[in-house]
């Protein structure tokens, strides 16, 4: 609710206190996790919230006990091609929908929107069986290759909406000057569409980094695990203590939190757009 009065009146103070209380509820679990990650194993079970001695060595031990760098390498091996595939193929498809007239375009666009509603569980099993027949199970390919085929309906939609806002005169005059469609796409449309492309790249990064069910289904051997999958699999193993697990948990959060703080505006806009699209 908007308050047009800017004075500090009672409702305003109450609202502020409520927000402060809520912020504590949000932050305490995170702070506690950080605190546990810096405790000695014995201290984890004690009453003090903060550690008596801050054991930074927990982090060094955690990345060895849980093969952190192997998991990181696997995650990046999936992430980098998926980023390239998603951004490029969704931009190409978006350009096709934004700038060309062809038979069945409206119907195809409706199909595109409809696929956003399809729960992934319906295609999950046949895709697994298909990749199994291809001998791709326990490789990164099932997690990478689909990104090159359109890069996701929502991403195409996002970029297409933006491209429709770019003045047509720009590419038409380039066309008259003899530029090919591909040149127009690469030299005019792509550079002008930076904002949605950055948004798509960020969402893709988050999606791959956080993905759990995909790696769980396709990757069987320890040395192929991604960070998200690896972390959960090391829960409850005899040589992995809680303080180390929490240290690894913090390490997995850090890249997304840093990305979030640098690029907050894209997150907030992206969520607002997605609700406007689907709602």
């Amino acid at each position: 609710m908007n308050y047009s009065v800017k004075r500090w009146n009672l409702p305003r103070i109450v609202a502020f206190l409520l927000l402060l209380g809520g912020a504590c509820i949000v932050l305490v679990p995170l702070l506690w996790t950080v605190a546990v990650s810096l405790k000695t194993p014995a201290e984890v079970f004690k009453d003090n919230f903060f550690p008596k001695v801050w054991k930074w060595a927990n982090y060094a031990n955690a990345v060895q006990a849980i093969p952190f760098f192997t998991f990181l390498k696997n995650t990046l091996t999936i992430l980098i091609p998926v980023l390239i595939g998603t951004v490029f193929s969704s931009a190409v498809s978006a350009y096709g929908f934004a700038r060309f007239n062809f038979k069945g375009k409206r119907a195809l666009f409706l199909v595109l929107l409809a696929t956003m509603m399809l729960p992934s569980q319906v295609t999950m099993i046949p895709m697994f069986l298909m990749f199994k027949e291809l001998g791709w199970v326990d490789t990164f390919l099932p997690l990478i290759v689909p990104a090159f085929f359109g890069g996701g309906a929502f991403n195409i939609f996002l970029i297409r909406q933006f491209m429709r806002g770019i003045p047509k005169e720009l590419d038409e005059s380039a066309y008259v000057d003899g530029a090919s469609r591909m040149q127009i796409f690469l030299r005019i449309m792509l550079p002008l569409s930076k904002p949605p492309l950055i948004a798509v790249a960020i969402f893709t990064f988050m999606g791959v980094w956080n993905d759990f069910q995909g790696p769980l289904i396709y990757l069987n051997s320890n040395e192929h695990y991604t960070l998200a999958l690896g972390l959960s699999m090391f829960k409850g193993l005899y040589n992995v203590e809680w303080n180390m697990l929490m240290a690894a948990t913090i390490l997995i959060m850090l890249p997304v939190l840093i990305t979030f703080f640098i690029a907050q505006k894209y997150f907030i806009e992206g969520i607002s757009i997605s609700s406007a699209v689907k709602g």
Binding site: G22, S89, G96, P119, V122, T123, M253, F260
Partner: protein
């Protein structure tokens, strides 16, 4: 620019998506539909696929675990969807105050929803620990003996609901942008007519953001049916199947028991349930959703 050359380039540019549609959506959908009426042996593969008609579905409707997973999912959705809406709407209204420092509050509230679900789950396993978790310690200060949360079949599902409140930031942001779309003059006009805070909320805010509420409702129900990572990591569906979400049961059938035909049938039932609720909410929306810019939509 509609000529045959332009048409051809149009198809060429959407080709990656078209191929993807056939290879990774329509093809698998068709395959999945066939599978749901078949038996499939994981070892021998396509050679041993055997048509069994409605057997999978008949079996499902006599499967206690199927009903258990439906029960868990519906209870979770019925409790968590309204609860999260109320919490998120209330917080969004507080965050919509014009004041310095609001920006920082928004960041704090939104932060948990970008944290990977696995990391959130690991954190909360610790927090919910009956003896040394921070939650039961905090309850202890008030003289309350906290339950065993994830280890207690009466509390495990409730624990997941509680955890979800923590990452309700996404919904808060959606409400916030909805609230910011409400024209200021409506509130002023209402105030001039003598409407108090509560009256303004009921007569201005609620009708104006009803499309947002509607969107969140649909997404919340769909989300409940796709809930997976937290249940898998934190409870594996236990104790005593008290957190056996539908999607988790489907996963177990497919990738633990390798009953691919049975699991495909389950996935189609899931699809129909989601479709039903989406259409139900979409249909009923005309009765209570007010679109301010209806005529602007193309």
């Amino acid at each position: 620019m509609r000529n045959s050359k332009s048409e051809r380039s149009g198809y060429l540019f959407i080709l990656p998506w078209l191929l993807g549609l056939v290879l990774f959506t329509l093809g698998p959908m068709l395959f999945s539909l066939i599978l749901s009426f078949s038996k499939w042996d994981i070892i021998t593969g396509i050679k041993s696929i055997e048509w069994v008609g409605l057997d999978n579905f008949k079996q499902i409707f006599h499967d206690d675990m199927f009903y258990q997973s439906l029960k868990v999912t519906f209870i979770f959705a019925l409790v968590s969807v309204p609860l999260y809406q109320i919490v998120a709407l209330f917080t969004a209204m507080l965050l919509n105050m014009r004041s310095r420092g609001m920006h920082v509050f928004r960041l704090v509230y939104f932060m948990p929803s970008v944290i990977p679900a696995v990391a959130t789950s690991m954190m909360w396993i610790m927090i919910f620990n009956p003896e040394y978790g921070v939650l039961n310690r905090a309850l202890g200060w008030f003289g309350i003996q906290g339950p065993a949360w994830l280890q207690d079949p009466h509390y495990a599902l409730g624990a997941l609901v509680v955890m979800g409140i923590w990452s309700v930031g996404n919904t808060i942001i959606i409400y916030l942008s909805g609230l910011q779309g409400v024209p200021e003059d409506l509130y002023e006009a209402a105030s001039l007519d003598g409407a108090g805070i509560f009256r303004r909320f009921v007569s201005v805010t609620l009708p104006m953001i009803s499309p947002t509420i509607f969107f969140n409702l649909v997404m919340g129900i769909i989300g409940g049916f796709q809930y997976f990572t937290e249940a898998f990591v934190m409870t594996s569906g236990g104790p005593l199947n008290s957190t056996l979400f539908y999607n988790l049961y489907l996963y177990n059938k497919a990738f633990k028991d390798y009953e691919m035909g049975y699991a495909s049938a389950l996935s189609w039932i899931l699809f129909i349930i989601i479709l039903f609720f989406t259409l139900l909410v979409v249909r009923s929306s005309s009765m209570w959703v007010y679109y301010q810019g209806d005529e602007e939509r193309d």
